[in-house]
């Protein structure tokens, strides 16, 4: 049942802008889409390998800064009289560099922290995010610090027949985010169904057993962290070129919390979970805003989160799955018949 969620979402959200002209709602959908990509990338780690990255916003923020600085250009002096000057280039190159560099960060953090398991990775990722935030805040020459990087150009895509097209309208950015989200989803779906996905599942369920089967824990987890980080970096790049102004607040811990909420409420370790959780908690503030006072909004937000986790501890998508199983007694009896038979002749 739930495997139809993603194609359904794709069709629905591809059609939405045709009927929706309200720029405020379109903006909310774009931001939600970007955060949903982050949630999908976090789910690759948290859901499929069981490793919690509490500094996931670092990859998002680095992606945003790398992409913005590539497009804007910079001029920084380094120790030993070195000086790096970059004229500014295409936002598309920025996107590619953002993906590459955040992937590299994910790889390095994985290499550092996956030799030991447990809380180590969590702590390394939290620290990494905080360090990066402080760098963004204090390396004023490069990042403008709290003054923010402004006038970041819109994403420019080469379109056959039209030449380079700058994505200025909300509609264009909406479809760009939708396309990147769809590609991210497909990459994760393919990975999870492959030999690599089976290695991740094995490690998550029973690490000793997985090791005894020849699965390399360090390498598998590091590859997962690399891909996950690169995806969050891609989301950061989209964000920078859409919002067109970024400051060190893109590294705020609360973004990571939002991603974790999206993954856990939707159902970690499921493909559709971060989509459902992402869209629900991305649009919830928008839905609450016209009907209640700002103070009450976050109380309701929290209450809904608690209610979901209380009623569906494994998340919305797994809850729907088991509901679908109960609704279809035909398949149920078929699979239930076998264990009964087994009990009869042990």
């Amino acid at each position: 049942m739930t495997r139809f969620i993603a194609p359904l979402f794709l069709v629905v959200f591809a059609l939405v802008p045709l009927g929706l002209k309200d720029p405020y709602l379109l903006n909310a959908l774009i931001i939600t889409g970007i955060l949903t990509i982050c949630a999908m990338s976090l789910n690759l780690l948290l859901g499929f390998t069981g490793q919690l990255s509490l500094g996931h916003v670092a990859f998002f923020g680095i992606g945003a800064y790398v992409s913005a600085l590539t497009a804007l250009g910079f001029d920084v002096s380094l120790p030993f009289g070195l000086r790096i000057t970059h004229e500014g280039g295409s936002p598309l190159l920025g996107f590619v560099l953002a993906v590459g560099l955040t992937g590299l960060c994910g790889y390095l953090i994985g290499r550092l922290s996956f030799r030991v398991r447990g809380a180590y990775f969590v702590i390394v990722t939290i620290s990494f995010a905080e360090v990066v935030r402080l760098v963004a805040l204090n390396w004023v020459e490069l990042t403008q610090g709290p003054l923010a990087l402004t006038a970041i150009p819109n994403m420019v895509l080469p379109v056959p027949g039209l030449g380079d097209v700058a994505l200025r309208s909300k509609m264009q950015n909406y479809y760009l985010v939708l396309a990147v989200a769809a590609v991210s989803y497909l990459i994760i779906a393919r990975l999870v169904a492959s030999r690599f996905g089976r290695a991740m599942r094995g490690l998550k369920e029973n690490e000793s057993l997985a090791l005894s089967l020849g699965i390399n824990a360090t390498r598998t987890l590091t590859v997962a962290a690399t891909i996950s980080a690169a995806m969050a970096g891609a989301a950061g790049s989209l964000y920078a070129h859409y919002i067109r102004i970024i400051d060190p607040d893109v590294f705020l811990f609360s973004y990571t919390v939002t991603m974790v909420i999206m993954v856990v409420s939707g159902g970690k370790g499921t493909l559709a979970g971060p989509l459902v959780g992402g869209i629900l908690f991305g649009l919830l503030p928008v839905a609450l805003r016209p009907v209640m006072a700002p103070e009450a909004q976050w109380i309701v937000y929290g209450a809904i989160l608690i209610a979901i986790l209380f009623l569906m501890p494994r998340g919305i998508v797994p809850a729907l799955e088991s509901l679908a199983l109960r609704r279809r007694p035909a398949t149920e009896t078929k699979s239930a018949a076998k264990p009964a038979e087994a009990g009869a002749n042990p």
Binding site: G202, L213, A342
Partner: protein
């Protein structure tokens, strides 16, 4: 391959293991030859499972070393040891409980069907062929251990004895040269045990050397070419089943000193 006196495939050389002040293994020294079925026996706490953990890299011995096909395993990690062809099962039931039996074996076949990243991300013919080959292999293994009918059920929902078989199937999926089985028939009934004895003989006849730890003595006596007996972390006897059965030191270890000396002595309390 079937020759009991073939070349040594595994050498355990004066291995010792201390956890702080506790000596789990004092000095363990024995060889296993190519194509043999050897049993490691001894009372609870004799250090059998510790020995397995050392041989498979989960523990580093505090003294001595283990050689597998001449290669020192001291600095080798568990996943690398599996790649060398030394696979193990675990004493406690160890399966991927949330996955189907077939998916369990597919995870176990990790060493096979590796394809390039592109074949993994796109449904290329090569990627599809590799996946089909791995699935075929998984079905062959399930047929061999007799779990084909259970392939689509969650491993965690199987009976205890069947879960032991899944664990065995997982170890087979590594396609090992040698298998270490930690209490493989515990939790199996008599007919399951008989089936399992036939199964490990079959696997041995295909060229896999087997070392097992087991408490089921009739099974051990039936299946073993040779038995190694441990007590208090020391090797106390080694030889063919008939000799071990008659060895006074072995009887003493299992039943106590008086039983080994004089079995006609009347007990103090009736």
């Amino acid at each position: 391959m079937n020759h009991p006196a073939g070349t040594a495939i595994l050498n355990v050389e004066h291995v010792g293991m201390r956890f702080g002040g506790l000596t789990a293994i004092a000095d363990l020294h024995f060889d296993v030859h190519d194509g043999e079925i050897v049993s490691l026996i001894g009372p609870n706490g004799a250090g059998k499972t510790t020995a397995f953990n050392i041989m498979t890299g989960f523990l580093k011995p505090t003294q001595g070393r283990v050689l597998f096909r001449g290669q020192d395993l001291s600095q080798t990690r568990p996943n690398e040891i599996a790649r060398l062809g030394l696979a193990r099962t675990f004493q406690r039931t160890s399966v991927f409980a949330d996955d189907t039996v077939r998916d369990n074996v597919l995870i176990g076949l990790h060493r096979h069907g590796d394809v390039a990243l592109l074949d993994r991300l796109f449904p290329t013919p090569r990627g599809r062929r590799a996946e089909a080959a791995v699935r075929e292999r998984a079905d062959a293994i399930l047929d061999l251990v007799g779990l084909a009918a259970r392939a689509d059920e969650k491993a965690g929902s199987l009976s205890y004895g069947e879960q032991r078989l899944v664990g065995f199937a997982l170890a087979l999926a590594v396609e090992p040269k040698m298998l270490l089985l930690d209490e493989p028939v515990s939790g199996m009934n008599a007919s399951e045990t008989q089936g399992f004895v036939r199964l490990i003989r079959k696997v041995r006849d295909e060229g896999v050397t087997i070392l097992l730890v087991e408490h089921d003595m009739p099974m051990v006596m039936e299946v073993s070419d040779r038995i190694v007996c441990l007590n208090y972390g020391r090797l106390i006897a080694e030889g063919p089943p008939a000799a071990i059965r008659a060895d006074p030191k072995v009887i003493e270890a299992y039943l106590g000193k008086s039983a080994a000396k004089l079995e006609h002595k009347e007990p103090v309390h009736a």
